[in-house]
């Protein structure tokens, strides 16, 4: 079976005991097909002959996607291949990371499977409000693509995208939410932490507080770094309760990045028996994504519970590079991840940046309901 199909099959029917062997097979494939990765591995003295466990597979900094072509250069991209771009930085738009996804159905399967477990375990179909542009408006954004798939898969008949690449349309969003509250129709809000913060700000400015129907929920991503309106994870939960009447366990933060086809989500009483660690919410990865905290000095995996640079091995990244080292640091305990912070001088990332542009260009009036 081709390696892509093996990974897809694993995502559909994960078997923990098969992960290691498949990960090593994916490493072998990527070593052979992604030249900059091969060069990096050789530089670190690693090759498929001496790498015997997933922990020994050299992890590549996500910065690599900015400067090198971390993709299968031996297979021309087919018609379905997609290239996603990171947002770059406020001073470095020319240095945007690029992630070529040869088989988007693997990204889709990964994203939706874990969304189903973490955000829709109750199998309800809900009205959907996107506070980040959908894929038709921002095709280069992997988050846009994921939100679009989410709406298609889990949405009811009513949906609205209240964002363009330049602005959050807060009045339209408030109107949509007010209508759902009046109709007693539960709603799922999807967006970046920054765009959610913009909604809260607009609601406060207009002295609006809603009580969304039971079962309503919110997914935010991106965190507070580099935003015009910083909002911590705890503040998002508190504000969602105050302004929207959302149950804290239904306010769920996503951790993801353009360079990685799989995501992690907050474990809450709604989706998991996993407890928090020292008051910090832990995030759960899907079975095809293995997290580790690395010692930043030696790059060796640390024992459970010790803080280090977060890294992941993502089977769903089979077409590019699966072993990734992020710029975030945190802890991994029993497979769950606690995010602690971000390396200094790290660029504001992905979704976090868009709101800076939003803030500069508020009140754009083009509102286009998604037609399902």
């Amino acid at each position: 079976m081709p390696i892509y199909d093996e990974v897809l099959s694993f995502i559909h029917s994960p078997a923990a005991e098969a992960f290691e062997a498949l990960a090593l097979a994916v490493f072998l494939y990527q070593f052979d097909h992604v030249p900059p990765y091969r060069e990096y591995c050789i530089g670190r003295g690693a090759n498929p002959q001496n790498v015997l466990t997933v922990g020994e597979i050299p992890a590549v900094s996500t910065l690599a996607f900015k400067y090198a072509r971390m993709e299968n250069l031996e297979e021309p991209p087919g018609p379905v291949a997609r290239t996603f771009l990171t947002s770059g930085t406020t001073i470095g738009k020319d240095e945007r990371g690029r992630h070529l996804v040869l088989r988007p159905e693997i990204y889709r399967a990964s994203a939706l499977s874990h969304l189903r477990r973490m955000l829709f375990p109750d199998r309800r179909r809900l009205a959907m409000l996107a506070l980040h542009p959908t894929a038709d408006r921002m095709p280069e954004s992997s988050l846009s693509q994921m939100i679009t798939w989410c709406i298609e898969e889990f949405g009811a008949d009513t949906a609205l995208c209240a964002a363009t690449p330049r602005a959050v349309q807060d009045q339209a969003a408030i109107e949509f939410l007010s209508d759902r509250a009046a109709a007693r129709e539960p709603v799922c809000i999807l967006g970046t932490t920054a765009s959610i913060a913009a909604l809260f700000t607009a609601m406060r400015a207009n002295r609006i507080e809603l009580r969304l129907p039971a079962g309503s929920r919110l997914m935010d991503t991106g965190g507070a770094k580099g935003q015009a309106i910083p909002l911590s994870a705890d503040e998002v939960v508190a504000e969602a309760l105050q302004t929207l009447g959302l149950e804290p366990s239904l306010v769920i933060n996503e951790y993801g990045m353009t360079e990685m086809c799989s995501q992690l989500y907050d474990a809450t009483a709604f989706n998991s028996p996993h407890s928090s660690l020292a008051g910090r919410r832990m995030k759960l990865a899907p079975p095809w994504l293995r997290p580790a905290a690395l010692d930043p000095v030696t790059l060796a995996p640390l024992e459970d519970g010790r803080a280090g640079v977060l890294s992941f091995f993502d089977l769903a990244n089979v077409g590019s590079v699966s072993a990734l080292m992020t710029e975030d640091f945190g802890v991994v305990r029993d497979g769950a991840v606690g995010i602690i912070g971000r390396a200094a001088a790290a660029d504001p990332r992905g979704c976090a940046l868009a709101i800076e542009e939003f803030a500069a260009d508020q009140r754009v009036s083009d509102i286009s309901p998604i037609v399902r």
């Binding site: 900015k66 400067y67 930043p296 000095v297 030696t298 803080a307 710029e327 602690i340 390396a343 001088a345």
Partner: protein
Amino acid sequence: MRALTNVRSPSVELEAPDNDSRDPVPPTPGEVVAAAGCLRAATGGPIPPDRIAPVLAAASLEISPRGRPSGSDLVTRLAGRWRYSEELLEASLTALLKPFSAEAISAFARKVPARRKLIGFVMPGNVPGAGLHEVIAALVSGSAVMIKTASNEPFFFREFACVLTAIDPRIGARIAVFTWGRDRSDLTAALRQSCDRFVVFGADDTLASIQSSAGGQGSGGLGLREDFAGFGSRVSGVILGHEAVADESARRARAKMVARDVTLFEQRGCLSPHHVFVGDEADRRAYDFAACLADEMEALARDLPPPTSLSLEDAAAIRRARESARWRGLGGQNVRLWEGAALGCTVIYDRDAPFRTSPGFRTVYVSPFTNAPDLERRLDPVKGRLEAFALMAADSQSAPIRAMLERFGATHICRPGAMQSPPLEWPHGGGDFLRILLDER
């Protein structure tokens, strides 16, 4: 760069090291006010500057680490707190204290009008002893000083005050040292209100915050009131003309000195260079210098070992600088990375870079420059925020470069190897403090 076999590999800590059991207890606001009264009283009986100068020189010598019990105890305590090696701290403090000879302080004393002011200092936590130039200048003028140290470095000025008192109690009565955290704005306000002049060292956000709480009206966080001097974030570098690295011997000699400038104080202070620019006529001189600097930094790390541990944030920042350089190189850009063992030292050759700020801990960038306009373009991002520059170039080239550096704000221009030893009259941070002291504004 070869792997170092005799250099300790730093561990990584998430939390700050435990507090030293001898950490001072914060005062009450009333104690700050009372101390101000005592300090003012101590300036009541004038002491001529030419009698103060030798006492200050003796105190500087006494806290010097080499062979002095006070200095060596200070090094041990700093090393325990900061996890820096004692060897590194010894060399760093020795360089810091070098300018404070009796002759130099006496010469400075002759230029400073006699004063009987009370000057309050909020000291930085990045480098032990930072601010000593200003404290000595204030004392030699006849003023008294009240110092608030950073919580993570409560030792240096406390020791200096003790030594001063032991040598001459009358002059020792003109210095008081307290320690409290950033959260005690009531104490900072009491300090501010008790003093005639107020001097703050720290990051720009610290300055802005203190200035704002004290009612200042700064611009960009660094603006000054008549009685306020702020030392914010500034950066330093090195410029070597083409002929300064003309052959292997010259290259090696310059690299030794630059390695020392980078390494002292673990590159945490405003005098530590981040970026070295080398005159290059498309003949790889900058690249060769980078390779040589990597060797010399590695060699120096054997004598002055790197910290035994780094915070996770610091380690991650160095790792980020390395990975960025590595992948820019692998991606085809003209960038080359030399990595010391563990995260001990890092040299990054970046042909096209403008001035880059490094994460510290012996991480330095090297780039070529072709001519003065090219150099000016590369320094433009830090224009107005320069502090020190080591400069070595042919006379014809040196003068215009020096003029440009001064125009861009550099306050200490010296030869390689002397960056950490600015003279007593150094116009630190642009010279606001000196102007206050000399009443030029």
